[in-house]
């Protein structure tokens, strides 16, 4: 079953690539419209240093934005769980920040941080995108603690801090991990969209590489950058899914594999 799950999609992927190669050659499709896979591979090798540098630039900002979103999202959720006033005051603004398209805020952010620090603008824009799922997921999780367990803690004179640390945070963990999976992908999307809107400054990231190659009709490079982006997205997802399994498999229902 498991090997089948691997073989079938891989076989389909290979078949599509072979058909693509064949059709492009057979119909003589120009390479600035749709380059053949072999050409993309050759370009990937040729442009390897440039692509890797761009990957590193993008990935660095993605990782930073995600870490920032994680820390600030959890901190915000903890604050909300402790202070109803804070939640009433800040939550609507978090929602407004979330529903405003990043592309629309990008010029403003770039203006504010200055054109010398475009990287910071990217970081802020990606953070805006990645922050909200963590905040709302963790907030929900912190509120989902079993009422009877809360009573039990109170019966034994537990402090707010003990209830937070020993009860609310563990309850929120599955919610947080799920939010991280969404937010991890969003940080990547956020950085790319921000690059489209703001450029990358001195270092070129993958998003800007795509725009640039498009302008110069280097479609093969564009495809190579796209392929790298997909791989990054998949890697982020699997990494976070692995983390989720690691932390939950012993106790959480979602991670149960029932013996039959």
């Amino acid at each position: 079953m498991n090997t089948l799950r691997l073989i079938v999609p891989v076989a389909l992927g290979i078949a599509v690539i072979v058909a693509w190669e064949f059709l492009v050659r057979h119909f003589g499709v120009p390479k600035f419209v749709l380059p053949a896979p072999s050409l993309i591979a050759a370009d990937f090798v040729q442009e390897f240093p440039k692509l890797m540098a761009a990957t590193w630039t993008t990935l660095r900002i993605v990782a930073l934005a995600f870490a920032l979103a994680l820390v600030s999202g959890v901190a915000g959720a903890v604050l909300f769980s402790q202070s109803r006033i804070a939640e009433l005051a800040f939550y609507p603004y978090a929602v407004i920040l979330q529903v405003t398209p990043v592309v629309a805020i990008a010029p403003l952010i770039v203006l504010w941080v200055g054109y010398d620090h475009v990287e910071r603008a990217l970081l802020i824009l990606a953070w805006i995108v990645a922050f909200f799922p963590i905040l709302s997921g963790t907030t929900l999780g912190l509120k989902s603690a079993d009422f009877n367990l809360i009573d039990l803690f109170r019966l034994y004179g537990a402090s707010r801090w003990q209830i937070l640390w020993r009860l609310r945070l563990p309850t929120a963990l599955p919610y947080l991990l799920n939010a991280m999976k969404i937010s991890g992908g969003l940080s990547l999307i956020g950085v790319i969209v921000a690059e489209f809107a703001a450029g990358t400054g001195s270092d070129t990231g993958l998003g800007w590489t795509i725009i640039e190659s498009g302008n110069r009709l280097h479609i093969a490079t564009m495809f190579a950058a796209l392929a790298i982006l997909s791989v990054l997205g998949i890697a982020i997802f699997f990494l976070l899914t692995g983390l989720e399994w690691l932390l939950l498999h012993r106790w959480h229902e979602s991670a149960v594999t029932r013996e039959r």
Partner: protein, 252 residues
């Protein structure tokens, strides 16, 4: 019948919830050390409300809760096992001790001992997910007795279990009661369970909850299957059943 020192005194307790629902009205009840008291009544008559007021989880809107000998260490068992799913059996039982800042190694030892007392030695590392309903309830009881309470409050703890498991747990509970010299307040709506377990049965009338009958039972030492099948048990159960019926008919 017995002249035990009073441990708890409820005087003219009333509870009106926000929204105006009068759950309990003018309820007075004294409980002596070492008693096994069942609170018996139909669903919705305020049994849980009384228990939560005794535990201090809910404030009465009238009357006072007094502890003549000082507030003792309490244990609480809910209808559901109410375990932390992320913690194994040992960590669940250890919780009250940790909240009271008992040293970790001592807490571990006491928690392991409590698990052994409810027949779960060897299951220290098992997560709730891997335990049956009866075993989870045993963990819950172990957690309640781990901190050496003097007064054990139980809110229909065995209502969700099958009859055999329930009887086994009834016997285990009586053993703990006798060994530890516990005082127990046991909420149930089962005539038979309360007859089997109690030294005293307090019947509550519904809406608003007040005391309908206060029946003394023979002390529940050394009860076993034989008692369940004895004519004496049948007589006692009938007495309780009649009192419950009378209490329900007295509703306004």
């Amino acid at each position: 019948m017995d002249h035990k020192r009073p441990i708890l005194q409820l005087s003219h307790i009333g509870k009106t919830f926000e929204g105006g629902l009068k759950a309990i009205a003018d309820l007075s009840l004294g409980i002596g050390e070492g008693e096994f008291v069942s609170l018996l009544g139909p669903s919705g008559c305020g049994k849980s409300t009384v228990l939560r007021m005794v535990a201090g989880l809910l404030q009465p809107t009238a009357g006072i809760v007094e502890w003549p000998g000082g507030r003792p260490e309490l244990g609480f068992v809910f209808q559901e096992p109410t375990l932390m799913p992320w913690a194994d059996a040992l960590a669940n039982v250890r919780l009250p001790l940790q909240l009271e800042h008992v040293r970790r190694d001592e807490a571990d030892a006491r928690a392991a001992q409590a698990l052994a007392r409810v027949g779960l030695a060897g299951f220290e590392r098992a997560y709730p997910r891997a335990l049956s309903g009866g075993m989870k309830m045993r963990v819950s009881i172990a957690r309640a007795v781990a901190a050496n309470p003097k007064l054990l409050l139980m809110d229909e703890p065995f209502a969700a279990l099958d009859e055999l498991t329930r009887q086994a747990l009834n016997d285990d509970l009586l053993k703990l009661w006798a060994e530890d010299g516990l005082t127990v307040i046991f909420v149930t709506h089962s005539v038979f369970e309360s007859t089997y377990l109690s030294s005293r049965i307090v019947v509550l009338t519904p809406r608003p909850g007040a005391i309908g009958a206060d029946i003394a039972m023979p002390p529940p030492h050394g009860r076993d299957r034989g008692y369940r099948l004895s004519p004496e048990f049948a007589d006692n159960a009938r007495k309780v059943s009649d009192a419950l019926r009378a209490a329900m008919e007295r509703r306004p």
